[in-house]
Amino acid sequence: MTAETSFSQAPPPEATRRSRLTAQRIRSAWIFLTPMMLALALVAGWPLFRNIYFSFTDASLTNLGAAQWIGFDNYYSKITLPSGREITSGLLVDPEWWRAVGNTLRFAFLSVGFETVFGLIVALVLNAEFKGRALVRAAVLVPWAIPTIVSAKIWAWMLNDQFGVINDVFLKLGLISEKVAWTASPDTAMTAVLIVDIWKTTPFMALLILAGLQMVPKDIYEAAKIDGVHPVKQFFKITLPLIWPAVMVAVIFRLLDALRIFDLIYVLTPNNAQTRTMSVAVRENLFDFDNFAYGSAQATMLFFIIALITILYITLGRVRFDGGK
């Protein structure tokens, strides 16, 4: 039998072997994916589903099992009184809630904005070569490494109206004429929170941007030198466009964090309408005021607001998670 006849009798061996290999690859992909998908379903999918479910009930923390389905009442309901007056209630018409949404957005955009600018500056400095750079890089990370509760407490003490070092220093320098209750006063509470958050998270931003900066090949800067590019122009025309994908990814990380901000505000400025964010409001309703169902509705809304902002950001900003390669 010649080679040719054996080929014509058997099915094309090349094709079968390749498809078996493909099937095997797909199978192993599933084997690797399954544990993560199971874990995600358990720790993220199920709680999210339960949360959305409770938001349509009248659940109370004391007896979750007795929850009754009440439809959209937690979100919006209208009652017409015998007198003909209409009373609307629910999350969608709750001024407290929308104030919390406003606070959260203001906090998120301001903090992430400043963190990006400062992070960029710090990253550029850390990217330059100088003696003791490794030490400075480590030192810059300290605020990020301290647990938020600890740094919030430290700052709360420094900002304390009676004993705080900041009031003391500002008084001595003549910047203020009397002691200020930084974290309690409606005028300064949000600024105080912003300052602490920017202080804390700028290192994280700087680190992510630094990683992007180090991906920029050095020889491009030499080509720019030969082209005679002014350093400022070099930054805006060469460096910034090249690290932009890294900056965009860093911003989305921080934006997601900032939109969920809870711990810093809970510790630094408790019970302050000026700084009450969505997460703080959710917690209050869920556990403090025993409005479990209403809190669930807020948590659901929080989820959708963050999802919407993230989707908008990714689409409008054309964020690419592959680092722009």
Binding site: D227, G228, I238
Partner: protein, 335 residues
């Protein structure tokens, strides 16, 4: 058109002395190639001329003007990098036009110059693409194009062909030679570790070794009258054969050098050296025979066409003519 003079130029990075006093006069419009083994300082020397590194001591002059403290852009140079160093986020057109725009050139004039360069390098159809959409050879052309549009006094090339495959390397080499011809007035300095590139491109070659100039001369001068054992061994392919000790004494020198193409297989009785064929490489046009004559290294013999000799055969060797024998003293200098 620029004449470049280096007087006692030294460069150190901390305690490491890379360039140890170089005097060199590069003529205006000349194609000068710096060649040497890796670590000899040839790239550093080029970067000193470019102004990308500061000179530690000594003086550099462009057309009799001291340029030690001038920035790269003030020196009127253009440089082509081994890694191309294109701006990855800019189109081919913008890559080439970037420097001109910064110099506040008119957009119409910029366009004209970019298009002329693109035509010269046959990359006109790629002007709208990004560097990552091009092959290595095309990228290197863009890098060369970026240099051309600057209309520089001095062209610097830092191993521009090292990242290309063999066939493309030969083709691009020819184009660079043509470019030098077309842009007759520009001085070109080209760094390579490949002596074939040096031989084929250069008006003059500067062989560097360990931070010092070993010899400067035309390719033929270097081939015919190497100023040291090092140059003799570095220039020419395959490498020159060296005989020493008892193998050298019959010809009256410490070291004897004969190129593989200048050796002849002789009858056993008439040979200067004799030995056994250890290995054979058939190239088609030539055959390289590696012969063990009892010295530290195998001796290479280049025979035209396909040789009938096989490993194990006995063979005697003799230089083709007396003037093909290079004699060196103990210090490695010619006698």
């Amino acid at each position: 058109m620029a004449r470049i003079q280096l007087n006692g130029v030294r460069k150190s990075f901390g305690d490491v002395h890379v360039i140890k006093g170089v005097d060199l006069d590069i003529r205006a419009g000349e194609f000068m190639v710096f060649v040497g083994p890796s670590g000899c300082g040839k790239s550093t020397l080029l970067r000193l001329i470019a102004g990308l590194e500061d000179i530690t001591s000594g003086e550099m002059r462009f057309n009799d003007q001291r340029v030690n403290d001038k920035t790269p852009s003030e020196r009127g140079i253009a440089m082509v990098f081994q890694s191309y160093a294109l701006y990855p986020h800019m189109s081919v057109y913008d890559n080439m036009a970037f420097g001109l725009r910064l110099a506040k050139g008119e957009e119409a004039e910029t366009r004209k110059r970019v298009e002329r360069a693109a035509e010269m390098l046959q990359i006109k159809q790629y002007l709208d693409r990004l560097p990552k959409q091009l092959s290595g050879g095309q990228r290197q052309r863009v890098a060369i194009g970026r240099a051309i549009v600057r209309d520089p006094q001095v062209f610097l090339f830092d191993e521009p062909l090292s990242n290309l495959d063999a066939a493309l390397r030969v083709a691009t080499r020819l184009e660079i030679a043509k470019l030098h011809h077309d842009m007759g007035k520009a001085t070109m300095i080209y760094v390579t570790h490949d002596q074939v590139e040096a031989m084929t491109l250069a008006d003059r070659i500067c062989v560097l070794r360990d931070g010092l100039v070993e010899q400067v001369g035309t390719p033929l001068e270097l081939y015919e009258k190497p100023a040291s054992v090092f140059v003799a061994g570095f220039i020419g392919s395959p490498k020159m054969n060296f005989f020493s000790g008892a193998h050298a004494s019959p010809l009256g020198a410490h070291t004897i050098g004969v190129r593989p193409e200048h050796l002849l297989a002789a009858p056993e009785s008439a040979g200067t050296w004799s030995g056994q064929v250890a290995h054979r490489e058939v190239m088609g046009s030539d055959t390289y025979l590696y012969i063990d004559v009892g010295g530290p290294e195998l001796i290479t013999l280049r025979e035209t066409g396909i040789s009938g000799r096989n490993p194990g055969d006995r063979i005697a060797l003799t230089p083709m003519a007396p003037h093909y024998v290079h004699r060196f003293n103990e210090a490695g200098r010619p006698v």
